[in-house]
Structure formats: C-alpha cells, structure tokens
Amino acid sequence: MAYRASQYRLTSVSMDAVVDPDAMLMLAYARGDLAAFETLYANHRGMLYRFLLRSVRDPHRTDELFQETWSRVIASRARYQPQAKFSTWLLQIAHNLMIDGMRRQRPMASGDEAEAALAALTTPEREQPDHALSDFERRRSLQRAIEQLPEEQRVAVLLRLEQELSLEEIAEVTGAGRETVKSRLRYAMNRLREVLTE
C-alpha cells in the first residue's frame, strides 16, 4: 500500500503541477480572485505554520516567517507558473527564508525555550485522560527528539512526516540531492526510534 502510494507520488509530480487544484487557485488569485486565495490559504496555513514552528522552534520567528512567506506568494502571483505542486513551491519559499535567517546568524531558541514554547502550545494536560499519559509522554519524547536533530535532518523529517512529501519533493524544497535527502531521513528516523525505545 505504501509502495503504491510512493509510486504514485513519484510519477505524479509533473502531472500534479498541471492538475494541482491549489495551483489553479493560485492562478485564479493572480487574475484577481481574492476568494481563491482565501481557499488556498485555508488549505495550507496549518501545515506551513507547523513546519516553521518545528523548524525554528521560536513562535515569534515563526510568525514572522509565516507572514513573510505568504507575502512572497502574494508578491509573485503575477509570475507564478504551475511547474510543481503549490505546496512544494510554498514550502520552498519558507525553507529559503528560514535558511536566510539562519545565515544572518539569528540565534534560534535554546532547547529549554523551545520546549517551553512547544509545551505551551500542546494540549493542556488536564484534558488528557490518565490512561493516555504514556502516549502523551511518547509524543513529548518525539517532539524533543525532532528538536534535537541536526537542522538538515529535522527539516527533511518534518517535510516527510508533516507534509508527506516524496524524496524528490523534499530534494526540490531543500535544494539537496535525492540520495542526500534519503540519507538524512534514514539517520533522522533511526535517531527518533532510538529515543522512543529508550
């Protein structure tokens, strides 16, 4: 099942660019249809925000990057060509902005600060049933393990788990080679499994 899904993902990259409904919405927005943009934004706001938040681990910086990413989308509406999936293009913009921010040596939130920020965003503990405590702990462990991954591995894992992108799409977003992406994912997932089995 997973194989079929991945095969479909591999072969449908170029076709997705043609029939991608999000791309059609973007083209409609470029023609002046604001409702098309609102639909597009509703489809991708959550996944983009989570990708940014878990990548930079700083809520304030996440808000800035989120807004800046959509500003770029708006500004480049006239030049938009649906050569790839809209989500891939959107994540590429976000990733580039994130990398630019890192190059400017802006310090990211430390581990404690990130943990506090993410904990504040998690579901309140009082809402959790007692029997789900172990599952909650496992999620916290996974969250911490993802945060502790090297930058490149963390981005690859987030794109894979959150966005369910193929290796090629991750390679397109990050600008790395396919095999490099695959290697990063292998290392990252091995590390996550180790943390969860401890």
């Binding site: 706001r45 959550g46 808000d63 959509w70 500004a75 894979r160």
Partner: protein
C-alpha cells in the same frame, strides 16, 4: 546468469509508518487569528491597485504627478547655472587682458641670455613655434577676435617703446659686432623672410621715422594677433645655425645679437661712436660690451686654467681667439695664448 534484482523501493524508510502515526498525534498548532487577518489583508491590498487600474483605466496618481518641490528645485538649479555661465562669460575678456599684457612684457623684456638662446630661429620659425606653443592662446584669440583686435592696439603702443629701444640699440651697437663679419662663416644663415628684411630696411633707411615704424609695428601687431601670435617679435637678424649649439664659443661673434642692445642701458650708446679700428680690450668690454656668453667662456677658460686643465683651457682659448681675433685678451689669458 544474473537474476533480475527486485525494484528498488527507495522511498520506503524503515519504521516510517510508526513514526508518522505518532507524529500525527502531535498537537496541530495553527497561526493565530491576527496572523490570518494580516495575511488576508495583504492579499486583498495587493489586488486593490490592479482592480482600480482595470476598472478606471487611469494610471496611478504617483506616476503622473511630480511633487512641487522637485519643480522648484529644478528651476532654481537651472537659474543658478545660467547666472553662473553669464558671470563666467562676462569675466573672460577682463581676465585675459592682463595675461596677454604680461606675455607681451615678458617678450619685450627678454634677458640677454634668453634672447641669445632664442636668436637662432628665424622669424617665421619663431612665429610657427609661437603658434605651436601657444596653440591654446591662439585658439582662444581666434575665437574672440574683438578682444584680440583691441589688444593689438595696446600691443602696438607697447611695441612703439620697444622699437624706440631697438632703434637706440641699433645706433649703439658696437661696430665690431656689426662690421667685422668673418669670411669663413660656419654655416650660411638661413634666408631672412621678406617681411624681416623689409623691416630691417625700414629701420636702416629711416631710423628716425618713428611714425612709420609705429604704423608698421601696429600693423605687425594686428597681423600677429590675427594669426594668434600674442607678443610682438623683436626685430632680429637670423643667427647662424651653429649658434644654437652647445659650444657657444664656436659661435661666430660677428652675428648681430639684438637682444643685448635692446636690454642695454642708454649708457652703452657712446660705445657706438668708437672707431672700428680702436680695439677695445676685453677688460674694457667685458663689463658692458662683451656678451655674457663670451664672458662666460672666458671665465670658464680661467677656471680650467685654475684647475690645471691646461690642455682643454688652451684649446678653448685658442678657439676663442680664432673666433674673436679683434678682442684683446686680458693679460692673464694672453700669456697662455702666446705660450709655446
């Protein structure tokens, strides 16, 4: 025989399904409503100018209207430029006249050394060299002819005084320098230009006819200014070519050197009344009549004798004596000359 390998399922990662399931249980964080509103507002604002343009068909206001302060600044800058140019154009003739007169006076008060050095080129050559060296000045003059014409009149007045001095100098010129031309001239002097000879004839035939000289010189000055020559040229006979050479002693002393008489004071005039047969001694002449080049040569010969370079000194002394047989040498040099 190789068995075909199974297809490479590169996209499969071990344990991915378990991790993905756990990841999906993570809280779904989403942007706040303020962030949503900001993005949607930006998207709506981006469409507004396009809607306005397409609906009304009018260019945005910022394209057509220029700020009033820009117009004011441009006008002020243009006015300043015009006033500056007018001021500059008005100052040009006034600034140039002193420079021209200074150049005239420089030419008129040429020192003996410079006149001797400059005596070699003929008048025409000098004119061409003036044209070449003062090309810029000539060009400026040709562009501003009225200024040059008015300047020519002032030059004519100045050349009058120069010509008066020249006439006195011709009268006061030492007879030996003019009369005793040696027969073996080292090189024939270049032919004097027609106007030069005419000028000399004028000077010789009517030495007291100053008005005619003034007219001629004024015309000459106008001609000079019209052709771009700034300063009036002193009447000079062409010097032999070898006078230009470094060996000043070898230069024939019989050449008429006009610069010296021009700059000589009036006290030199009595020397003209001396008969040609009365040879003045060098001691008598050295102070006033001997040219500085000859005096320098004799000083140099003395210096060579003093520094015991007798051979060279002797040769130069003999050469000097051959070139100037009419001069009586001072006793200290005469002794060396008649040494066996």
């Amino acid at each position: 025989m190789n068995t075909p390998l199974p297809p490479d399922h590169d996209d499969d990662l071990p344990g991915e399904a378990e991790l993905a399931a756990l990841y999906r249980k993570l809280p779904k964080n989403e942007p706040g409503p303020a962030l949503d509103a900001a993005v949607l507002r930006a998207a709506a604002q981006a469409l507004e100018p396009a809607n306005d343009e397409s609906a009304v068909g009018v260019a945005p206001r910022s394209r057509g209207v220029r700020p009033p302060w820009l117009i004011g600044m441009s006008s002020a800058a243009a006015m300043l430029l015009v006033v500056g140019l007018a001021w500059r154009m008005r100052d040009m003739p006034a600034n140039e006249a002193p420079a021209m007169s200074a150049q005239v006076s420089t030419h008129a008060s040429t020192t003996p050394e410079t006149s001797q050095a400059a005596a070699a080129p003929t008048r025409s050559a000098r004119r061409s060299s003036d044209l070449a060296s003062g090309g810029l000045v000539a060009q400026n003059h040709s562009e501003r002819r009225p200024a040059a014409a008015s300047l020519a009149d002032s030059e004519a007045e100045k050349t009058t005084t120069v010509n008066e001095r020249r006439m006195q100098a011709l009268r006061a010129a030492p007879a030996p320098a003019m009369a005793s031309a040696p027969t073996p001239a080292p090189a024939p002097p270049p032919p004097a230009p027609a106007e030069m000879s005419a000028s000399m004839d004028q000077l010789a035939a009517a030495p007291n006819d100053l008005p005619s000289l003034k007219k001629a010189d004024a015309a000459d000055a106008r001609d000079a200014s019209a052709t771009g020559r700034v300063a009036p040229q002193v009447v000079q006979t062409p010097a032999p070519v070898n006078e230009l050479s470094q060996n000043a002693a070898a230069a024939p002393a019989q050449t008429y050197e006009p610069a010296a008489p021009l700059t000589q004071p009036m006290a030199a005039a009595p020397a003209a009344s001396l008969p040609a047969s009365d040879k003045p001694t060098l001691g008598e002449l050295s102070a006033q009549d001997a040219s500085p080049a000859q005096q320098r040569e004799l000083d140099e010969i003395r210096r060579l004798f003093a520094t015991h370079q007798d051979t060279e000194a002797q040769q130069r002394l003999e050469r000097f004596h051959r070139a100037h047989p009419q001069w009586q040498l001072a006793p200290d040099l005469d002794v060396h000359l008649h040494k066996p």
